[in-house]
Protein backbone atom coordinates (compact mmCIF):
# COMPACT_ATOMS: atom_id res chain seq x y z
CA UNK A 1 0.00 0.00 0.00
CA UNK A 2 2.76 2.42 0.93
CA UNK A 3 4.64 1.57 -2.24
CA UNK A 4 1.51 2.15 -4.32
CA UNK A 5 0.93 5.52 -2.61
CA UNK A 6 4.53 6.53 -3.20
CA UNK A 7 4.32 5.51 -6.88
CA UNK A 8 1.03 7.40 -7.25
CA UNK A 9 2.47 10.56 -5.69
CA UNK A 10 5.62 10.23 -7.75
CA UNK A 11 3.48 10.17 -10.89
CA UNK A 12 2.16 13.62 -9.93
CA UNK A 13 5.68 14.95 -9.66
CA UNK A 14 6.96 13.50 -12.91
CA UNK A 15 6.16 16.67 -14.84
CA UNK A 16 8.31 18.74 -12.48
CA UNK A 17 11.19 16.27 -12.50
CA UNK A 18 11.29 16.21 -16.31
CA UNK A 19 11.05 19.99 -16.71
CA UNK A 20 14.19 21.32 -18.36
CA UNK A 21 15.57 24.85 -18.36
CA UNK A 22 14.90 25.25 -22.09
CA UNK A 23 11.24 24.41 -21.57
CA UNK A 24 10.97 26.96 -18.77
CA UNK A 25 12.47 29.59 -21.08
CA UNK A 26 10.01 28.65 -23.83
CA UNK A 27 7.07 28.85 -21.43
CA UNK A 28 8.27 32.36 -20.58
CA UNK A 29 8.57 33.21 -24.27
CA UNK A 30 5.04 31.87 -24.83
CA UNK A 31 3.87 34.04 -21.94
CA UNK A 32 5.63 37.05 -23.49
CA UNK A 33 3.75 36.47 -26.76
CA UNK A 34 0.52 36.29 -24.75
CA UNK A 35 1.42 39.57 -23.05
CA UNK A 36 2.17 41.23 -26.40
CA UNK A 37 -1.14 39.99 -27.79
CA UNK A 38 -3.36 40.65 -24.78
CA UNK A 39 -1.59 43.50 -23.01
CA UNK A 40 -0.22 45.41 -25.99
CA UNK A 41 -2.74 44.43 -28.66
CA UNK A 42 -0.04 43.27 -31.13
CA UNK A 43 -1.76 40.92 -33.61
CA UNK A 44 -3.72 39.25 -30.77
CA UNK A 45 -5.62 36.94 -33.12
CA UNK A 46 -2.38 35.18 -33.93
CA UNK A 47 -0.04 35.88 -31.02
CA UNK A 48 -2.52 34.56 -28.46
CA UNK A 49 -2.89 31.05 -29.95
CA UNK A 50 0.81 30.99 -30.93
CA UNK A 51 1.86 31.91 -27.39
CA UNK A 52 -0.46 29.36 -25.84
CA UNK A 53 0.63 26.69 -28.31
CA UNK A 54 4.25 27.42 -27.35
CA UNK A 55 3.39 26.89 -23.68
CA UNK A 56 1.46 23.67 -24.36
CA UNK A 57 4.19 22.07 -26.44
CA UNK A 58 6.84 22.72 -23.80
CA UNK A 59 5.02 20.93 -21.00
CA UNK A 60 7.13 17.84 -20.40
CA UNK A 61 5.58 14.45 -21.23
CA UNK A 62 2.36 16.01 -22.54
CA UNK A 63 3.18 14.63 -25.98
CA UNK A 64 1.07 17.12 -27.90
CA UNK A 65 3.44 17.07 -30.87
CA UNK A 66 4.18 13.37 -30.80
CA UNK A 67 2.47 10.88 -33.11
CA UNK A 68 -1.29 11.13 -32.52
CA UNK A 69 -0.85 14.22 -30.35
CA UNK A 70 -3.61 16.80 -30.78
CA UNK A 71 -1.38 19.64 -31.95
CA UNK A 72 0.54 17.27 -34.22
CA UNK A 73 -2.77 16.44 -35.89
CA UNK A 74 -3.54 20.13 -36.53
CA UNK A 75 0.00 20.72 -37.77
CA UNK A 76 0.08 17.72 -40.13
CA UNK A 77 -3.42 18.35 -41.43
CA UNK A 78 -3.30 22.08 -41.90
CA UNK A 79 0.24 23.37 -42.01
CA UNK A 80 2.23 20.60 -43.69
CA UNK A 81 -0.49 20.33 -46.35
CA UNK A 82 -0.46 24.17 -46.67
CA UNK A 83 -4.26 24.18 -46.33
CA UNK A 84 -4.49 26.66 -43.39
CA UNK A 85 -2.68 29.60 -45.06
CA UNK A 86 -4.69 29.03 -48.24
CA UNK A 87 -7.99 29.13 -46.37
CA UNK A 88 -6.87 32.32 -44.64
CA UNK A 89 -6.24 33.84 -48.07
CA UNK A 90 -9.87 33.28 -49.08
CA UNK A 91 -10.86 35.29 -46.01
CA UNK A 92 -8.34 38.05 -46.73
CA UNK A 93 -9.60 38.27 -50.32
CA UNK A 94 -13.19 38.53 -49.09
CA UNK A 95 -12.20 41.34 -46.72
CA UNK A 96 -10.02 43.35 -49.13
CA UNK A 97 -11.38 46.21 -51.18
CA UNK A 98 -9.25 46.69 -54.28
CA UNK A 99 -11.28 49.69 -55.42
CA UNK A 100 -8.58 52.31 -54.55
CA UNK A 101 -6.10 50.30 -56.62
CA UNK A 102 -8.51 49.95 -59.54
CA UNK A 103 -9.08 53.70 -59.47
CA UNK A 104 -5.38 54.47 -59.64
CA UNK A 105 -3.58 51.47 -61.19
CA UNK A 106 -0.19 53.13 -61.73
CA UNK A 107 0.31 52.99 -57.96
CA UNK A 108 0.48 49.18 -58.28
CA UNK A 109 4.22 49.45 -59.04
CA UNK A 110 4.81 50.52 -55.44
CA UNK A 111 3.50 47.11 -54.43
CA UNK A 112 6.39 45.55 -56.33
CA UNK A 113 9.06 47.83 -54.85
CA UNK A 114 7.76 47.01 -51.38
CA UNK A 115 8.74 43.37 -51.89
CA UNK A 116 12.39 43.93 -52.75
CA UNK A 117 13.32 43.41 -49.10
CA UNK A 118 12.43 39.73 -49.57
CA UNK A 119 15.17 39.22 -52.10
CA UNK A 120 17.78 41.45 -50.46
CA UNK A 121 17.22 39.62 -47.16
CA UNK A 122 17.55 36.28 -48.92
CA UNK A 123 21.03 37.40 -50.03
CA UNK A 124 21.87 38.51 -46.48
CA UNK A 125 20.72 35.16 -45.08
CA UNK A 126 22.95 33.33 -47.56
CA UNK A 127 25.86 35.56 -46.53
CA UNK A 128 25.24 34.63 -42.90
CA UNK A 129 25.54 30.93 -43.68
CA UNK A 130 21.93 29.77 -43.94
CA UNK A 131 21.37 27.17 -46.63
CA UNK A 132 19.44 27.99 -49.81
CA UNK A 133 15.98 26.90 -48.69
CA UNK A 134 16.38 28.42 -45.24
CA UNK A 135 17.36 31.70 -46.89
CA UNK A 136 14.20 31.58 -49.01
CA UNK A 137 12.07 31.07 -45.89
CA UNK A 138 13.83 33.90 -44.04
CA UNK A 139 13.60 36.28 -47.01
CA UNK A 140 9.86 35.75 -47.24
CA UNK A 141 9.40 37.50 -43.87
CA UNK A 142 9.90 40.60 -46.03
CA UNK A 143 6.57 39.85 -47.68
CA UNK A 144 5.12 41.27 -44.44
CA UNK A 145 2.39 38.74 -44.98
CA UNK A 146 1.84 36.00 -42.39
CA UNK A 147 0.03 33.40 -44.51
CA UNK A 148 2.52 33.76 -47.39
CA UNK A 149 5.44 33.37 -44.97
CA UNK A 150 3.85 30.27 -43.47
CA UNK A 151 3.04 28.79 -46.88
CA UNK A 152 6.59 29.20 -48.21
CA UNK A 153 8.32 28.19 -44.97
CA UNK A 154 6.22 25.06 -44.48
CA UNK A 155 7.15 24.07 -48.03
CA UNK A 156 10.89 24.66 -47.87
CA UNK A 157 12.10 24.96 -44.27
CA UNK A 158 9.42 23.65 -41.88
CA UNK A 159 11.97 23.52 -39.04
CA UNK A 160 12.06 27.35 -39.14
CA UNK A 161 8.29 27.77 -39.08
CA UNK A 162 8.08 28.96 -35.46
CA UNK A 163 10.78 31.62 -35.77
CA UNK A 164 9.67 32.84 -39.21
CA UNK A 165 5.99 33.07 -38.20
CA UNK A 166 6.70 34.85 -34.93
CA UNK A 167 8.96 37.31 -36.78
CA UNK A 168 6.43 37.86 -39.57
CA UNK A 169 3.47 38.53 -37.27
CA UNK A 170 5.41 40.50 -34.65
CA UNK A 171 6.97 42.86 -37.16
CA UNK A 172 3.67 43.32 -39.00
CA UNK A 173 2.30 44.62 -35.72
CA UNK A 174 5.36 46.81 -35.26
CA UNK A 175 5.10 48.50 -38.68
CA UNK A 176 3.95 51.79 -37.03
CA UNK A 177 7.21 51.78 -35.04
CA UNK A 178 9.58 50.45 -37.71
CA UNK A 179 8.58 52.60 -40.68
CA UNK A 180 8.34 56.25 -39.48
CA UNK A 181 12.05 56.81 -38.69
CA UNK A 182 13.00 55.44 -42.13
CA UNK A 183 10.32 57.58 -43.79
CA UNK A 184 11.62 60.72 -42.06
CA UNK A 185 15.21 59.91 -42.96
CA UNK A 186 14.69 59.20 -46.65
CA UNK A 187 12.32 61.98 -47.68
CA UNK A 188 12.86 65.71 -47.79
CA UNK A 189 10.50 68.13 -46.09
CA UNK A 190 9.31 69.35 -49.50
CA UNK A 191 8.48 65.78 -50.57
CA UNK A 192 6.61 65.08 -47.33
CA UNK A 193 4.42 68.12 -47.95
CA UNK A 194 3.34 67.11 -51.46
CA UNK A 195 -0.46 67.11 -51.65
CA UNK A 196 -1.89 64.40 -53.87
CA UNK A 197 -5.22 65.36 -55.38
CA UNK A 198 -8.24 63.11 -55.12
CA UNK A 199 -8.48 60.47 -57.80
CA UNK A 200 -12.07 60.29 -58.97
CA UNK A 201 -12.21 57.48 -61.45
CA UNK A 202 -15.18 55.35 -60.46
CA UNK A 203 -14.92 51.71 -61.43
CA UNK A 204 -17.74 49.66 -62.96
CA UNK A 205 -19.05 46.59 -61.23
CA UNK A 206 -18.06 44.47 -64.23
CA UNK A 207 -14.44 45.59 -63.86
CA UNK A 208 -14.50 44.76 -60.15
CA UNK A 209 -15.84 41.27 -60.90
CA UNK A 210 -13.43 40.62 -63.74
CA UNK A 211 -10.39 41.91 -61.82
CA UNK A 212 -9.87 38.82 -59.60
CA UNK A 213 -10.38 36.48 -62.55
CA UNK A 214 -7.94 38.36 -64.79
CA UNK A 215 -5.33 38.64 -62.02
CA UNK A 216 -5.58 34.92 -61.28
CA UNK A 217 -5.16 33.87 -64.89
CA UNK A 218 -2.40 36.37 -65.75
CA UNK A 219 -0.33 35.86 -62.59
CA UNK A 220 -0.78 32.09 -62.61
CA UNK A 221 0.39 31.81 -66.20
CA UNK A 222 3.60 33.64 -65.28
CA UNK A 223 4.17 31.74 -62.02
CA UNK A 224 2.05 28.56 -62.03
CA UNK A 225 3.35 27.35 -58.66
CA UNK A 226 1.91 30.44 -57.03
CA UNK A 227 -1.60 29.65 -58.29
CA UNK A 228 -2.84 28.32 -54.92
CA UNK A 229 -1.82 31.60 -53.22
CA UNK A 230 -3.09 34.08 -55.79
CA UNK A 231 -6.08 31.87 -56.66
CA UNK A 232 -7.39 31.69 -53.09
CA UNK A 233 -6.92 35.43 -52.49
CA UNK A 234 -8.76 36.26 -55.69
CA UNK A 235 -11.47 33.66 -55.06
CA UNK A 236 -12.22 35.44 -51.79
CA UNK A 237 -12.35 38.76 -53.61
CA UNK A 238 -14.66 37.34 -56.28
CA UNK A 239 -17.03 36.11 -53.54
CA UNK A 240 -17.12 39.70 -52.27
CA UNK A 241 -17.43 41.53 -55.60
CA UNK A 242 -19.87 39.14 -57.28
CA UNK A 243 -22.52 40.15 -54.75
CA UNK A 244 -24.41 36.88 -55.27
CA UNK A 245 -22.86 34.64 -52.61
CA UNK A 246 -23.21 36.72 -49.47
CA UNK A 247 -23.30 33.60 -47.28
CA UNK A 248 -20.02 32.29 -48.68
CA UNK A 249 -18.43 35.72 -48.35
CA UNK A 250 -19.60 36.00 -44.75
CA UNK A 251 -18.40 32.48 -43.95
CA UNK A 252 -15.00 33.16 -45.55
CA UNK A 253 -14.33 36.37 -43.68
CA UNK A 254 -15.79 35.17 -40.38
CA UNK A 255 -16.25 31.49 -39.51
CA UNK A 256 -13.60 29.98 -41.80
CA UNK A 257 -10.98 32.63 -41.10
CA UNK A 258 -11.63 32.55 -37.36
CA UNK A 259 -11.43 28.77 -37.01
CA UNK A 260 -8.38 28.48 -39.24
CA UNK A 261 -6.62 31.38 -37.51
CA UNK A 262 -7.05 29.62 -34.17
CA UNK A 263 -5.80 26.28 -35.44
CA UNK A 264 -2.99 27.87 -37.45
CA UNK A 265 -1.79 29.87 -34.45
CA UNK A 266 -1.83 26.80 -32.21
CA UNK A 267 0.00 24.75 -34.83
CA UNK A 268 2.72 27.38 -35.21
CA UNK A 269 3.08 27.64 -31.44
CA UNK A 270 3.42 23.87 -31.40
CA UNK A 271 6.56 24.10 -33.55
CA UNK A 272 8.27 26.16 -30.83
CA UNK A 273 9.75 23.27 -28.87
CA UNK A 274 12.75 24.33 -26.79
CA UNK A 275 15.33 22.22 -28.61
CA UNK A 276 14.20 23.59 -32.00
CA UNK A 277 13.61 27.23 -31.04
CA UNK A 278 16.32 28.12 -28.54
CA UNK A 279 19.17 28.50 -31.02
CA UNK A 280 21.36 31.33 -32.21
CA UNK A 281 19.69 30.90 -35.63
CA UNK A 282 16.37 32.01 -34.14
CA UNK A 283 17.86 35.31 -33.00
CA UNK A 284 19.44 35.75 -36.43
CA UNK A 285 16.08 35.08 -38.10
CA UNK A 286 14.36 37.66 -35.87
CA UNK A 287 17.06 40.22 -36.75
CA UNK A 288 16.87 39.41 -40.46
CA UNK A 289 13.08 39.72 -40.36
CA UNK A 290 13.40 43.24 -39.00
CA UNK A 291 15.96 44.08 -41.68
CA UNK A 292 13.65 42.65 -44.36
CA UNK A 293 10.80 44.97 -43.43
CA UNK A 294 13.16 47.94 -43.12
CA UNK A 295 14.53 47.17 -46.60
CA UNK A 296 10.99 46.91 -48.02
CA UNK A 297 10.33 50.36 -46.61
CA UNK A 298 13.60 51.80 -47.95
CA UNK A 299 13.07 50.47 -51.50
CA UNK A 300 9.38 51.46 -51.44
CA UNK A 301 10.32 55.03 -50.47
CA UNK A 302 13.09 55.22 -53.09
CA UNK A 303 10.65 54.00 -55.73
CA UNK A 304 8.15 56.59 -54.48
CA UNK A 305 10.82 59.26 -54.93
CA UNK A 306 11.46 58.02 -58.47
CA UNK A 307 7.74 58.18 -59.27
CA UNK A 308 7.65 61.65 -57.72
CA UNK A 309 10.45 62.70 -60.05
CA UNK A 310 8.87 61.14 -63.13
CA UNK A 311 5.45 62.69 -62.42
CA UNK A 312 7.05 66.08 -61.67
CA UNK A 313 6.10 66.11 -58.06
CA UNK A 314 2.58 64.68 -58.25
CA UNK A 315 3.30 61.64 -56.08
CA UNK A 316 4.20 61.95 -52.43
CA UNK A 317 7.05 59.44 -51.84
CA UNK A 318 5.69 58.64 -48.37
CA UNK A 319 3.05 56.39 -49.94
CA UNK A 320 5.92 54.24 -51.23
CA UNK A 321 6.36 52.91 -47.70
CA UNK A 322 2.78 51.58 -47.87
CA UNK A 323 3.66 49.21 -50.72
CA UNK A 324 4.03 46.35 -48.25
CA UNK A 325 1.41 43.80 -47.35
CA UNK A 326 0.65 44.91 -43.77
CA UNK A 327 -2.89 46.09 -44.51
CA UNK A 328 -4.13 48.66 -43.62
CA UNK A 329 -1.48 49.59 -41.04
CA UNK A 330 1.15 50.71 -43.52
CA UNK A 331 -1.38 52.99 -45.28
CA UNK A 332 -2.31 54.59 -41.95
CA UNK A 333 1.37 55.19 -41.15
CA UNK A 334 1.81 57.06 -44.47
CA UNK A 335 -1.29 59.16 -43.71
CA UNK A 336 -0.11 60.02 -40.18
CA UNK A 337 3.41 60.91 -41.32
CA UNK A 338 2.08 63.07 -44.17
CA UNK A 339 -0.21 64.99 -41.84
CA UNK A 340 2.65 65.75 -39.48
CA UNK A 341 4.15 67.99 -42.18
CA UNK A 342 1.00 69.24 -43.86
CA UNK A 343 -2.24 69.13 -41.90
CA UNK A 344 -4.29 69.46 -45.10
CA UNK A 345 -2.67 66.46 -46.72
CA UNK A 346 -4.87 63.37 -47.04
CA UNK A 347 -2.70 60.56 -48.34
CA UNK A 348 -4.85 57.73 -47.02
CA UNK A 349 -6.65 56.70 -50.22
CA UNK A 350 -3.43 56.81 -52.24
CA UNK A 351 -1.58 54.89 -49.54
CA UNK A 352 -4.44 52.34 -49.47
CA UNK A 353 -3.89 51.81 -53.21
CA UNK A 354 -0.21 51.13 -52.56
CA UNK A 355 -1.08 48.90 -49.61
CA UNK A 356 -3.57 46.83 -51.65
CA UNK A 357 -0.90 46.58 -54.35
CA UNK A 358 1.48 45.36 -51.65
CA UNK A 359 -0.94 42.54 -50.81
CA UNK A 360 -0.95 41.37 -54.40
CA UNK A 361 2.78 42.10 -54.77
CA UNK A 362 3.77 39.93 -51.82
CA UNK A 363 1.93 36.96 -53.29
CA UNK A 364 3.31 37.58 -56.77
CA UNK A 365 6.85 37.81 -55.35
CA UNK A 366 6.36 34.52 -53.49
CA UNK A 367 4.80 32.90 -56.56
CA UNK A 368 7.72 33.96 -58.75
CA UNK A 369 10.18 32.68 -56.16
CA UNK A 370 8.41 29.29 -56.01
CA UNK A 371 8.41 28.99 -59.80
CA UNK A 372 12.07 30.00 -60.15
CA UNK A 373 13.04 27.48 -57.43
CA UNK A 374 11.17 24.82 -59.35
CA UNK A 375 12.88 25.93 -62.57
CA UNK A 376 16.27 25.61 -60.84
CA UNK A 377 15.31 22.09 -59.81
CA UNK A 378 15.20 22.94 -56.11
Amino acid sequence: METALAAGLQALLVGFTHLELGQVVMILIGSLLLYLGIGKGFEPLLLLPIGFGAILVNIPLAGLMEEEGALRFFYDTGVLTEIFPLLIFIGIGAMTDFQPLLENPKIILLGAAGQFGIFLTLLLALALGFDKLEAVAIGIIGACDGPTSIYVTSKYAPHLLGAVSVAAYSYMALVPLIQPPIMRLLTTEREKKIVMGTVKQPVSKTTKILFPIVVTVAASLVAPLGTPLIGMLMLGNLLKESGVVERLKQASENEITNIVTLLLGLSIGATMEAEKFLRVETLMILALGLIAIALDTVVGLLFGKLMCLLTRGKINPLIGAAGISAFPMAARVAQVEGQKYNKKNYLLMHAMSANAAGQIGSIIAAAIMLSVLDGLGI
Binding site: K132, T207, A219, I368, M369, L376
Partner: protein
Protein backbone atom coordinates in the same frame (compact mmCIF):
# COMPACT_ATOMS: atom_id res chain seq x y z
CA UNK B 1 24.91 25.54 -58.11
CA UNK B 2 26.83 27.70 -55.64
CA UNK B 3 24.91 29.83 -53.18
CA UNK B 4 25.71 33.15 -54.84
CA UNK B 5 24.60 32.06 -58.31
CA UNK B 6 21.43 30.80 -56.62
CA UNK B 7 20.94 33.97 -54.57
CA UNK B 8 21.49 36.45 -57.37
CA UNK B 9 19.35 34.42 -59.79
CA UNK B 10 16.40 34.39 -57.39
CA UNK B 11 16.91 38.03 -56.42
CA UNK B 12 17.25 39.35 -59.98
CA UNK B 13 14.39 37.35 -61.49
CA UNK B 14 12.29 37.89 -58.36
CA UNK B 15 12.60 41.68 -58.32
CA UNK B 16 12.32 42.23 -62.07
CA UNK B 17 9.60 39.59 -62.37
CA UNK B 18 7.48 41.07 -59.58
CA UNK B 19 7.79 44.52 -61.11
CA UNK B 20 6.88 43.28 -64.60
CA UNK B 21 3.90 41.21 -63.44
CA UNK B 22 2.47 44.11 -61.46
CA UNK B 23 3.05 46.46 -64.40
CA UNK B 24 1.21 43.95 -66.61
CA UNK B 25 -1.64 43.89 -64.11
CA UNK B 26 -1.84 47.69 -64.16
CA UNK B 27 -2.19 47.55 -67.96
CA UNK B 28 -4.90 44.90 -67.64
CA UNK B 29 -6.77 47.08 -65.14
CA UNK B 30 -6.61 50.01 -67.55
CA UNK B 31 -7.87 47.75 -70.33
CA UNK B 32 -10.77 46.49 -68.20
CA UNK B 33 -11.69 50.06 -67.32
CA UNK B 34 -11.62 51.02 -70.97
CA UNK B 35 -13.77 48.08 -72.09
CA UNK B 36 -16.19 48.33 -69.17
CA UNK B 37 -16.32 52.02 -68.26
CA UNK B 38 -18.23 53.20 -65.25
CA UNK B 39 -21.72 54.40 -65.99
CA UNK B 40 -24.26 55.87 -63.63
CA UNK B 41 -26.52 52.82 -63.91
CA UNK B 42 -23.68 50.52 -62.90
CA UNK B 43 -23.53 52.28 -59.54
CA UNK B 44 -27.20 51.41 -59.06
CA UNK B 45 -26.34 47.74 -59.72
CA UNK B 46 -23.69 47.57 -57.09
Amino acid sequence: MDIWTFGWTIATIGMIGTLLVLWLLSLLILLLKKIFPYREESSAEG
